[in-house]
Symmetry: C2
Subunit: 444 residues, 2 copies
């Protein structure tokens, strides 16, 4: 049986043909899902619709029949393919009007950039009749919020910085006011979600090690997701408020009283089963974890990258403040650079080849000595699709680590996949190697 969904569910509709083609990540969804969860509202559907009035109107119509809150992102810009305004106008039967408030906000915003609205931008002041204009403190396109049947539609720009700020400053207060005013004096849904990340075990082994920790019928829902960065595990519990009957048709059991403590206990047991493969929790990343461990131990790192081509350095420097522990490194794509910059002996290259444990160890020693860093991390391998030789297939990778005791050791890995997957997995394995070394060294 498919029951009527509780009124407090939300639906996110992302507008844009470029999103429909899938070539771009819709980065608003993660933020919106988390921000809505904080208000006790669960996102149950997300749709992506191209830039066509008819299709956007259909998607909003469908959403209004099943969700209480509809957040539409995108399609509010100045160009001719931006038609969210028209679609909302159509579906709510509210004609578009130039709204003085929207015009003033936009004009003021553009004035701070020493610009005046052009014809295209003036379209942005068109707002469905009766809708609340939502100020855009970052960009020029105002948003709006409007009631449609039982649903509240909030239309926000697609630019993440704008959507996020407008959601926090304008939409959250609206949701809170409605939840407070209506029968839903308390949030109707409370969501507990915990997430952690492992590297080094296949998905099925992760499942085998932890599935027994969740008895059949437990209201805690287990999610296991594989990616080139490893396998992530999530635990989710959704509580519905005020004695609603559990929606038995859902594969998510609801309404059973499982508190945060029980989730934390299960999470802890799963982490124990999987340690030392667990490297991070929630939105934390391998590069942040490695950075914190280096900072705590007052050590510095330098890298010598062959097959990853700079990816390890790029990832480490995504973390603000990484200059405190990251010295830099060498992208030694050619053999000449391995010899000239890292003092890898030419006979070693000739005898074992550039992709070998011996050369990886020499690279790690070389970058550590030349950079003056505490640790030297090296990587050499065959990312493919070309470059394989007899006995050295695509995906063969050696990772070397030179440590303060003067030692340098290399480990062999065999990865599968496309060139970018092999590069990504290699960078993750290299950073994980540093993480494990730092953890073993640290007195626990």
């Amino acid at each position: 049986m498919i029951g009527k969904p509780p009124a407090s569910f939300a639906e996110i509709i992302a507008i844009g043909s470029e999103l429909l083609l899938g070539g771009r990540l819709d980065s608003n969804s993660l933020f919106l899902t988390e921000a809505l969860a904080r208000e006790g509202v669960e996102v149950r559907y997300k749709s992506v619709v191209g830039d066509a009035v008819r299709d956007i109107a259909r998607a909003i119509g469908t959403a209004a029949r099943r969700a209480r809150w509809i957040v539409v992102t995108g399609g509010l810009g100045p160009t001719s393919d931006d038609c969210t305004r028209e679609a909302v106008s159509f579906v709510t039967k509210r004609p578009l009007q130039v709204r003085a408030e929207a015009l003033r906000q936009m004009t003021e915003r553009l004035a701070t950039w020493n610009r005046v609205p052009n014809d295209a931008q003036l379209r942005q002041a068109l707002i469905p009749r009766g809708a609340l204009v939502l100020a855009n403190p970052v960009g020029s396109a105002p948003g709006f919020a409007v009631r449609h049947g039982q649903a509240l539609i909030a239309a926000l720009p697609g630019v993440p910085a704008e959507a996020q700020q407008m959601f926090e400053t304008s939409v959250v207060p609206l949701i809170r006011a409605k939840l407070k005013a209506g029968k839903e004096a308390r949030p109707a849904v409370r969501i507990i979600r915990r997430l952690f990340h492992t590297f080094g075990l296949p998905e099925s082994e992760v499942q085998a090690k932890i599935a027994h920790l969740l008895p059949p019928g437990s209201p805690i829902r287990l999610g296991i997701y594989a990616s080139p960065l490893g396998v992530s595990v999530s635990l989710t519990v959704i509580h519905e408020g005020r004695g609603r009957s559990p929606a038995s048709s859902s594969s998510i059991d609801r309404g059973r009283s499982v508190g945060e403590e029980a989730v934390e206990r299960t999470l802890g047991a799963m982490r124990d089963q999987l340690a030392p493969f667990v490297y991070a929790d929630e939105a934390d990343t391998m590069e942040s974890v490695v950075g914190r461990l280096l900072s705590q131990q007052s050590l510095t790192l330098a890298v010598a990258e062959s097959c990853t081509g700079g990816l390890i350095g790029h990832r480490l420097t995504q973390v603000p403040g990484s200059s405190d522990y990251f010295e830099g490194g060498v992208i030694c794509y050619s053999n000449r650079m391995k010899q000239d910059w890292l003092a890898v002996p030419e006979p070693l290259l000739r005898q074992h080849g550039a992709v070998s444990a011996e050369v990886a160890a020499a690279m790690a020693r070389g970058i550590r000595a030349r950079s003056g860093a505490s640790l030297g991390l090296s990587i050499t391998g065959i990312a493919g699709p070309g470059g394989a030789t007899p006995g050295k297939p695509v995906g063969l990778v050696y990772i070397g680590l030179a440590t303060p005791d003067g030692q340098a050791q290399a480990k062999e890995f065999r990865f599968h996949g496309t060139r970018d997957m092999i590069k990504l997995r290699s960078s993750q394995a290299a950073l994980d190697r540093v993480r494990r070394w730092l953890l073993e060294r640290r007195p626990t």
Copy 2:
């Protein structure tokens, strides 16, 4: 008016709570949209649904009322959160049965990996009654295809390599057979889509330069999309076959006879207006374009990266065969590395600071001389959020280029956004600088 959509539209449903959270790119959509377009089928909706039987069933039910073809990806794996089988069984009212064919294929596949199916994997042989089993030549989970009302549902695994191969080998023949057998002897829809990419102009200037080239009412639809990598422009025409009346309610005009030539002509005029900002077409990338130009001119490149931390090297080495023209480089995050590795004079660093045109030029000269490459590309800047000083705000970036004539020149840029956006924009500006130099040098 919202008309009934033509029967040949398709809908893609991606299953997975991890996709709903938005933290991951659904990379199947681009492939499926393009592959369906080749068969004359337009994807008009894409939805993402979490791992819950009820929600997946609802999404499929909604899709079946508006689309002829429904491609579901994901939720066919062995773990307990994989429930696409159950959802399709529910919505089509076809009980799940262990199918000998599916079991045999899976057992054979696992045998090639020296494994036997475990209990969890055996669930993968459950298939709705009457469905066609689709062989998985890559992984262990079989797919299936089943009719529901007027729609054909194809369920494929979420792993891109598996989904893509199964779609090509099993689903495409099904679609062709049905299009041939039914009234749709010819594809009902023909889609012409062209795309090109610019760097260096804001979105509104791109629009201002080209919008007049498309007269009002033209059946060619213009899309303009901004990202940290620049502004992309798309032209789309959708033809419906066999004299269907144009769906006037859509913002995409249909049915007008505009051929590929007219699209190419408009595309050419727009490219002319925007040259030299246009750097690539379709799925081509800046790093590929730079690589081809270097190859054609038999030149090599080395990089000295400060604020981008290895991103330029990473991007260049995403291109197979890049070792032919990319020597490697230095990630010189610290001042010491700028001095020791690139011979940037210490007084220069003291007088102008590491983020200056003078140091950028010295870095470019240094990396060119030390690496032996034809061109030396350097970048130094403040990616933020920390590191700003009076007169040197976050986003200030200098890009230097040392050329075979011994000259090195630096240009100043000011970027906005978060740390990763500034890194990405900086890397794009640096590669674009090389591209423009190579183009100006080349006798045209």
